[in-house]
């Protein structure tokens, strides 16, 4: 996408780190939750919420200083913010830019909401979910999660 977005400048440029752009408006807190960023964090994080956007109407932007996201983290972000783009920043410039891609499965990042599911019972397995077009599904008990994915994040 060659969309130029001056609104990004509403939050200051970072030297090294990651900018997660084009998060649907209001979902920045979910992205922060995925990344384990809460009030106890000592990372430098800037959040823009409900910034006007040509593509999404309103979007959220998250900038994290000094941290490049892992593929696992990007995979989970893709579930909550399928339109997001991830910009890896090095020396104030965009070193890599990619749209998130939804993986076929996510492992160890969501926990199954079904209390009778074997994956919640201390067995030596990571949770595993198949990624569907409109949600995810536990590979063990087949429970579907379609809404409020962020509530089931276990990373």
């Amino acid at each position: 996408m060659s969309e130029r977005d001056d609104h990004e400048l509403r939050v200051s440029k970072i030297q090294d780190g990651t900018v997660i752009d084009h998060i649907a408006g209001g979902h920045a807190p979910d992205v922060l939750a995925i990344l384990g960023i809460d009030s106890s964090t000592d990372e430098v994080v800037s959040v823009g919420m409900n910034v006007p956007s040509d593509r999404l109407g309103h979007k959220d932007v998250v900038k994290i200083e000094g941290r490049e996201l892992s593929q696992d983290e990007v995979d989970v972000i893709s579930l909550i913010a399928p339109a997001a783009s991830i910009n890896i920043i090095r020396e104030y410039g965009v070193a890599e830019k990619h749209r998130v891609e939804r993986p076929d499965t996510v492992e160890g990042v969501l926990s199954c909401p079904n209390h009778d599911c074997i994956s919640t019972e201390g067995e030596p397995v990571a949770s595993r979910f198949a990624v569907l077009d409109d949600g995810v599904r536990c590979a063990y008990c087949e429970t579907l999660i379609r809404e409020d994915l962020a509530e089931h994040i276990s990373v």
């Binding site: 599911c117 074997i118 019972e121 067995e123 030596p124 397995v125 008990c141 087949e142 579907l144």
Partner: protein, 322 residues
């Protein structure tokens, strides 16, 4: 045959897999195999939840094939209560046996356990999840009594929400283009994940709260028990359960050929006066558990002998009948 030689969910059984097993079961009933066929083979029975009938039917099946069963015994004396994981328990027992049967109260237990063993694992029920060998004997009974499996109109009545036999059966029936009618109280309708699968499979499905809306069209009426413990109080249970009970008079409104099935045990959802009618096939259905489980074990143990899923399949299919 079958998914990595395990039998975990009816969803992974193709139409060809199902027909292979049913053909083999029919061949076994006509011409029982000799007692040396699987002599020396051991079947590990891992029942983390009591189910005398399912356990005995597997035990009968392996013994009739010449093999023997190893039973880990009642759960309260097993290492599960000492805190051992299921993954460890099945790994140990898989070291003693040529195939495992697992019954466990947690959903997804069989899928998880199968990731830890390299002998065939048969799911004999995992919580409200799946019970694929029940589905195979249900299909066998339908095929024998309803003139085949294609284009049937099947009514499934009772607790559709928690009934794992219903979930497995519904999915398998989509592979034979059955028209499926689900009859239940509002509160016990199919769960979302099963609806999702049926929709994905392009199943022809309709839901009803009154059996009389469809009874006259049915080739098969599959009745399940509405469990009292699902209801907060007895009077609510009574109000609902009474609506989903059949007796001989009910069946007078059905087609003469309509087959009545039930995974048993029944409580009072099928009145005893139905037993004497030609509709009743539920005892035959229970009896079919042994030949169908013999067929499955026979196929799985053959595959294990030939070193894997790809091995003896074609041969064994053709060797069965036809």
């Amino acid at each position: 045959m079958l998914d990595r030689n395990h039998v975990i969910t009816a969803k992974n059984l193709s139409r060809a897999d199902i027909e292979t097993v049913l053909d083999r079961a029919a061949a076994i009933e006509r011409d029982p195999p000799d007692r040396e066929r699987h002599a020396g083979r051991l079947l590990g029975l891992c029942f983390f939840e009591p189910s005398t009938r399912t356990r005995m039917s597997f035990e009968a099946a392996i013994k009739r094939l010449g093999g023997d069963a190893l039973d880990m015994g009642p759960v309260d004396s097993s290492s599960a209560t000492k805190g051992e994981s299921l993954a460890d328990t099945v790994r140990v027992i898989a070291g003693y046996a040529d195939a495992l049967v697992l019954r466990h109260p947690s959903e997804g237990a069989a899928t998880m356990a199968s990731e830890f063993v390299d002998v065939p694992l048969l799911n004999a029920g995992d919580g409200a999840g799946q019970h694929p060998t029940q589905t195979l004997l249900d299909l066998y009974t339908m095929r024998e009594n309803a003139g085949g499996l294609t284009d049937l109109t099947v009514g499934i009545m009772g607790d559709l929400k928690y009934g794992r036999t219903v979930h497995s059966l519904a999915y398998a029936l989509t592979k034979f283009d059955a028209s499926q009618h689900f009859v239940s109280p509002e509160s016990l309708r199919l769960p979302r994940s099963v609806r999702y699968d049926l929709h994905e499979a392009g199943a022809q499905v309709r839901e009803h709260d009154d059996l009389d809306e469809v009874l006259a069209e049915l080739d098969v009426l599959y009745v399940t028990r509405i469990q009292r413990e699902r209801f907060p109080d007895e009077s609510e249970y009574r109000a609902v359960a009474g609506e989903y009970r059949i007796d001989a008079a009910t069946m007078e409104r059905a087609r003469e050929e309509c087959v009545v099935m039930h995974p048993l045990p029944r409580v009072d959802e099928i009145a005893p006066d139905v037993d004497a009618t030609p509709h009743a096939k539920y005892f035959e259905q229970a009896h079919n558990g042994v030949p169908v489980r013999m067929a499955l074990l026979d196929l799985l143990l053959d595959d294990a002998d030939s070193g894997g899923a790809a091995g003896a399949t074609d041969d064994s299919v053709n060797g069965g009948e036809r």
